[in-house]
Amino acid sequence: SQKIEQNSEALNIQEGKTATLTCNYTNYSPAYLQWYRQDPGRGPVFLLLIRENEKEKRKERLKVTFDTTLKQSLFHITASQPADSATYLCALGAGSARQLTFGSGTQLTVLP
């Protein structure tokens, strides 16, 4: 069955460092992958989308890589700030099917 794993339920890093979050998947051939941020009691907020034929995408302090051979996406936040503390969700989408399959998320805490 399809499975999406996000690294460690919780990740603590020091302010100013780079946070790296991992999303691994099995039994899935996604056409694209998205990352969302979710704060407690709020709905997910879209951050980045990367397609299967793209290796890397950047947006301000965010960078996403997508390796379809390793079946893995890495999500980086450079120069992290306490305001970056949240749960980050990866979500996979397959071709014409518009629904997303989400991982369980990684809770990131950036310590001042």
């Binding site: 999406i4 709020r42 989400f102």
Partner: protein
Amino acid sequence: GAGVSQTPSNKVTEKGKYVELRCDPISGHTALYWYRQSLGQGPEFLIYFQGTGAADDSGLPNDRFFAVRPEGSVSTLKIQRTERGDSAVYLCASGGQGAVGELFFGEGSRLTVL
């Protein structure tokens, strides 16, 4: 409104009761989704509308769950004979046309079945 609006934000009901959850998507968005999120988990797909029709309802867990979008805008998720296991946050999202794109989520409706 500017974003996706969901009501009620919180609903507490008793086992066996009927519940309706409402979603008002971003104006002009043709695609509408319902997801369910349990504590510590990611959102789980329930149903997808393109316009008025349910394009994919494969995520609905059983026939107690039903959703409508009669005029292609507002959608209602209906749950009959609620069970304690239905307790979760029900998220609605909307998106523009096209096969791929970001989803805009509402804040969710937290359902608690006692």
